[in-house]
């Protein structure tokens, strides 16, 4: 079946609310899922992979465990980027807005691809981002220019061992400044694959024109979650609607 972006966002917000997310978190999480799905990054598959965890664990946010002049370390404590991605990006933004480049390592976190939407949104404030993480035996690198609506998304072989569940984010006024300051940390092996901007743009354009294809089972799962935030209707409650 097909759904519109707006109704998908509305459904996801309520579903995340049902899972215990707070207002800021459920808006951000819904945006992350929809961005990935509409740009061809299989947002629904990634959502399905995390739903069971979210459904059985109270929302966990990351802790700030280390900070110096230019760097942060956040401990995700096994949570999803859906819950801790925004605070990671906000932290690094705060540092860059007051100085030059900054780096952040988010350890013990899952579903790292969702971070792309947060980087794109933050880039609208005239900031550049580079993020990378390990995916099996490869490294995924995402670069976002200031003001860009689409990232450069590349997969490389690994030159150095990267922790399995960590996510590195670097931020600066432009990509060159980041690459220059963090040159040793941004060394990768051979380029394996690129997800082109054209593919992303086409995917998004199709989703706006024709709607977004969603598996009926997932849609029903979301409906079931949404039902948790609804209140049983009674004669008394109907009076609270104008009867």
């Amino acid at each position: 079946m097909k759904v519109s972006k707006n109704e998908l966002l509305a459904s996801l917000k309520k579903a995340f609310e049902a899972l215990g997310f707070q207002p800021g978190d459920y808006y951000d999480a819904a945006d992350m899922v929809v961005w990935l799905e509409t740009h061809g990054f299989y947002g629904f598959d990634r959502l399905l992979a995390v739903l069971t965890y979210l459904n059985t664990t109270a929302p966990v946010h990351a802790d700030l465990v280390q900070e110096d002049t230019h760097n942060f370390v956040l401990d995700g404590k096994g949570t999803s980027v859906l819950l801790c991605g925004s605070e990671a990006v906000d932290l690094i933004r705060s540092k860059v807005m007051k100085g030059s480049c900054a780096g952040l390592e988010l350890i013990n976190c899952y579903n790292r691809t969702f971070i792309v939407q947060r980087l794109i949104k933050a880039a609208q404030r005239n900031l550049a981002f580079i993020a990378y993480w390990r995916q099996l035996d490869y490294c995924v690198k995402v670069s976002v220019k200031p003001g860009a609506y689409l990232p450069e998304y590349q997969t490389f072989t690994m030159l150095q061992v990267v922790d399995l569940q960590s996510l590195r984010i670097f931020c600066g006024k432009n990509l060159d400044a980041i690459e220059e300051q963090y040159v040793t940390e941004l060394e990768f092996g051979t380029l394996v694959d690129t997800f082109s901007e054209t593919e992303m743009a086409n995917s998004y354009r199709n989703s706006v024109e024709d709607g977004i294809e969603i598996d009926e089972t997932l849609w029903k799962t979301l409906d079931t979650l949404v039902a948790r935030v609804l209140v049983e209707s009674t004669d008394d409650s109907r009076a609270g609607a104008g009867d």
Binding site: M1, K2, V3, S4, K5, N6, E7, Q22, P23, G24, D25, Y27, D28, H61, A62, D63, L64, L74, S86, E87, D90, L91, R93, S94, M97, K98, K121, A122, Q124, R125, V208, E209, D210, G211, A227, R228, V229, L230, V231, E232, S233, T234, D236, S237, R238, G240, A241, G242, D243
Partner: protein, 581 residues
């Protein structure tokens, strides 16, 4: 901020007086006193349809002798072709219900892009009548439904069938042949997203333009169906409804709490609507800097007299609204007398409109003040109509993480002083809560500790959330001075949403409604009227504090008027006189 919009008007040389402050404009009771203006979405739509001479035909008009069946209208607008598909059904009068929770209606409609072929028509026939229980696709822009006026429809058809025009007083009592009970757009139920509408369909690329058009076409169908049924019943004797009566017939509307959360959840958009209206007002007040001419004064006086008549023709059982209508009428009579007596002097006065609005604020009801403001805006189409292109804004709420906590506390103290002034330790300050019902997710208002569902409360109590955030942040600042907002959010992640809202809205002039929306005595009806005034409705008839009846497009031009000379002064409609058969 408003200066950036001065160029939006057609006269960039016009000066603007300072805008009215948010602590006056954003009071809920004032928002609940607004009337339609030239910038209202119905007014804008009608101006365009008439000026661009949209061509509307009905390639399918397949109704039986009872008026049931299918109609497809084809619309050739300036930039595109659209189809308005309508299904007319028999409805057991016992099942006629205007509430969201209804599941059957007299009419169901869909506005679609392009033309509709047989296959798509079958698809629509299988889904549109089900409304929320059906699914449509991204070719559909709006889904709507309507119920017949039990009082008026049969009477009008019978009169026409007998060769007579209906009594205008009977028409005035009701004002419409059909009431619409919902007009869904923006991607609901599989429809096209707003993003598709505004990027692809320029004819409807303004807020709620497609939804308003759907209601306009319903009005057209309602009189066409009445004519059709009269001729079916009495082919030799029937007459068509007089065009002046057709213009006076609108569409009824019932609006309940479903509309209320929108105003709270879209503060940037609401800010844009209010700011444009306030900019228009400031612009026209400034335009009287060096006096006004006699012709303008006469036009103003005529419009004042028309509002007096309009108000006298409104029938409402609501005591508060009824008293207000009477008092507004009396105060406008004073204004009329003043204009009559002082006319020659007034035209020479500098800033006469500033003097008038100031006097009204000091002496007259808020409703009277807002009627006057609307009428002043009406006088200067060349200065204000350009603002209609600025009624939409892309909404994005984002934390400003580098702001110091101390600075953020100051922002809250300055911009949300109204929220900090509320004593939330009082029971009544948190005596109500908003929630979504299992019945079609209908928003409802519950009483704290009495009704079920408080644990599922919707976060619409912005004032309370601001207070909680302020208290938490204040304590944090005591223990962690010189820290920034990003660190506060990491330590207090549950506040990220309200922090983003506060920081975003602090950069706008209006936006947040300055009222405790979880107070026991909150009047949601003011929220509804505010939004409805921007839609462009008239004749507000509150049925309780939770829902309001009103009329859409009453007095608006007919399709047969498109392309003709058009005065665009159909606001505050009054009964037509001297109808000849």
């Amino acid at each position: 901020m408003h200066n950036s919009f001065q160029q939006a008007g057609n006269h960039s040389n016009a000066k603007a007086l300072p805008m009215r402050p948010a602590n006056k404009v954003m009071q809920l009771s004032r928002l609940g006193s607004l009337h339609q203006s030239r910038l209202s979405f119905m007014r804008t739509l009608v101006r365009r349809m008439v000026a661009e001479n949209w061509q509307i035909s009905s390639p399918v008009f397949d109704l039986d002798e009872h008026g049931y069946g299918t109609v497809v209208y084809q619309i050739e607008a300036k930039y595109g072709t659209f189809s308005y598909v309508l299904f007319s059904h028999y409805l057991d009068p016992e099942r006629r219900n205007d509430r969201v929770i209804a599941d059957q209606w007299d009419l169901t409609m869909a506005l679609c892009e392009g033309t509709v072929d047989t296959k798509q028509l079958d698809f629509l026939r299988n889904n549109v009548p089900k409304q929320e229980a059906g699914r449509v696709d991204s070719r559909v822009l709006v889904l709507s439904r309507a119920n017949r006026s039990a009082r008026l429809f049969e009477y009008v058809v019978n009169e026409l069938a007998q060769g007579s025009q209906p009594d205008i007083d009977m028409i005035a009592d009701v004002g419409y042949l059909y009431r619409t009970t919902a007009a869904y757009g923006s991607g609901k139920l599989g429809m096209a997203d707003w993003e598709k509408v505004w990027t692809k369909h320029r004819d409807f690329a303004r807020p709620f333009a497609a939804e308003m058009f759907t209601c306009y076409m319903l009005r057209h169908f309602s009189t066409q169906q009445a004519d059709y049924l009269a001729s079916q019943r009495s082919p030799t004797q029937a007459v068509a409804l007089h065009e002046d009566i057709k213009r006076y017939i609108g569409i009824g509307n019932s609006t309940g709490l479903g509309m209320a959360p929108f105003l709270i959840n879209h503060p940037l958009l609401i800010n844009q609507w209010i700011e444009m209206r306030e900019t228009a007002l400031a612009t026209v007040v400034a335009a009287s800097e060096s006096g006004i001419d006699q012709e303008m004064l006469s036009r103003f006086d005529i419009s004042v007299q028309r509002v007096i008549q309009h108000l006298s023709e409104i029938i409402t059982a609501d005591e508060r609204q009824s008293k207000a209508n009477i008092q507004v009428g009396e105060e406008l009579q004073l204004l009329h007398a003043w204009l009559h007596e002082q006319g020659e002097v007034l035209v020479k006065n500098h800033y006469v409109w500033a003097s008038l609005t100031h006097y009204a604020e000091q002496n007259w009801l808020t409703e009277t003040q807002e009627v006057i403001n609307t009428l002043l805006i009406e006088l200067y189409p060349e200065l204000v109509d350009g603002f209609e292109e600025h009624m939409w804004v892309e909404e994005s709420y984002q934390v400003t993480p580098e702001m110091s906590v101390a600075e953020m506390l100051e922002v809250i103290e300055q911009k949300y002083d109204w929220a900090l002034a509320i004593d939330f330790s009082k029971y009544e300050s948190m005596g109500a809560f908003w929630y979504r019902s299992q019945e079609k997710m209908e928003p409802r208002l519950g009483q704290t500790n009495i009704d079920m569902g408080m644990e599922k409360e919707m976060p619409l109590g912005i004032g309370r959330r601001v207070r909680e955030c302020y208290d938490q942040m204040y304590g944090y600042n005591q223990t962690c001075p010189n820290q920034d907002v990003a660190h506060f959010v990491v330590q207090n992640p549950t506040f990220s949403g309200i922090v983003a809202r506060i920081q975003t809205m602090a950069q706008s002039q209006y936006g947040d409604i300055r009222e405790n929306l979880v107070h026991s005595d909150v009047l949601p009806i003011h929220l509804l009227r505010c939004k409805l005034s921007f839609f462009g409705v008239s004749k507000f008839d509150p049925r309780s504090r939770l829902w309001v009846r009103n009329t859409m497009f009453q007095g608006a031009p007919l399709i047969s008027d498109f392309g003709k000379v058009f005065a665009d002064d159909w606001q505050f409609p009054v009964k037509p006189t001297a109808i000849s058969e």
